[in-house]
């Protein structure tokens, strides 16, 4: 840079960084030779899916809250529609989903040599049904994990 630092620069240039090991070199060679795997989900599609799930959860949670709200004229008026019809005296009292953890698992190479960020999302679905006749309730929790691949731009 200048005469001011010449001796120091010469000393630094004279120091050799530790060499890369043969193990790493072989690892790179093997990785470059290996075919890519996986599939990229376009980001727009992911946004659409996440948005659809979020909207569904908002609707379900809102209905559940309205049904449970004390003094609500609608509370307990109509049982929710479910995929498998339940007896009329069984009422779904609570439905929600908790986000436990989301973890960025780094970038992976997927089809067409495209980089994608792999994100693991851990969720728990909580459901509760109440028997209005007996007052008994049943709760169910269902843990699940989802892997989301977010396509990355490389330009």
């Amino acid at each position: 840079m200048s005469d001011e630092f010449e001796r120091l620069e010469n000393e630094l240039h004279g120091m050799q960084p530790r060499a890369m090991s043969e193990r790493t070199r072989r690892g790179i060679e093997e990785a470059l030779a290996a075919p890519s795997a996986g599939r990229v989900i376009p980001f727009r599609k992911i946004l659409f899916r996440v948005g659809a799930v979020a909207a569904a959860m908002v609707v379900i949670t809102t209905i559940a809250i309205r049904l449970r709200a004390p003094g609500n004229p609608d509370a307990g008026a109509e049982p929710m529609q479910v995929a498998a019809p339940a007896p009329e005296y069984i009422e779904r009292a609570q439905v929600d989903t908790l986000l436990l953890n989301s973890e960025d698992e780094g970038i992976i190479m997927v089809g067409d040599n495209q980089p994608a960020r792999r994100v693991r999302v851990d969720l728990v679905d909580r459901m509760e049904w109440t028997n209005r006749a007996s007052g008994r309730s049943m709760q169910m929790t269902r843990p699940r994990s989802e892997i989301v691949l977010v396509g990355l731009r490389t330009d």
Partner: protein, 172 residues
């Protein structure tokens, strides 16, 4: 450009660069492998001019090293395992036995530099990048890159002035 040729010429500098965000030499090598393979297989380098490939690889390696830090932090949080004790402060350079004392002092003071200065120093001295190339990769101006280099040299000199081995070895 053949990847073997790049590794022959720049592999050790890339490892030294990754070393700044890695606990030890082995972790730094893993970061280089991840970053190198990632960009090579992505095809991104096809759009990079040949003379920009090496600077681009420095950024790819840094990204991989930082990704590894984030993963390590998450593992630590989950498993409550401390990893700091595994940090090995030395092992950045091949120490010449004829100049061992002096080079160990230099290695030590280089590791004490602030990250933003050390990063520029490594890219400039051992990566052989120009200030313009460094600036492009770090998204700073060439003047800022040059300033950080100058601050690094001044700081190195200051730290070495405090060391009797460096003074006696005629480094200053």
């Amino acid at each position: 450009m053949d990847w073997r040729e790049i590794l022959d010429q720049h592999g050790s500098a890339l490892v030294l660069y990754a070393r700044q965000w890695s606990r030890n030499h082995a972790d730094a090598e893993d970061a280089v492998q991840e970053g190198f393979v990632r960009v090579w297989k992505s095809g991104a380098l096809k759009r990079v001019p040949p003379d920009k490939i090496v600077p681009y690889l420095f950024t790819a390696v840094k990204t991989a090293a930082l990704d590894r830090i984030r993963s390590a932090k998450r593992r630590k949080t989950r498993e409550e395992k401390a990893s700091e004790e595994l940090y090995e402060p030395g092992d950045m350079f091949e120490i010449d036995p004829d100049a061992e004392d002096r080079q160990r002092v230099v290695q030590s003071v280089v590791s004490q530099l602030p990250e933003e200065q050390r990063e520029v120093l490594v890219m400039k001295v051992w990566g052989d990048l120009t200030f313009r190339e460094i600036a492009e990769q770090l998204k700073i101006s060439p003047n800022t890159a040059a300033s950080r280099y100058r601050y690094a040299m001044e700081r190195l000199r200051g730290l070495l002035e405090e060391d009797p081995v460096a003074r006696e070895g005629g480094l200053l």
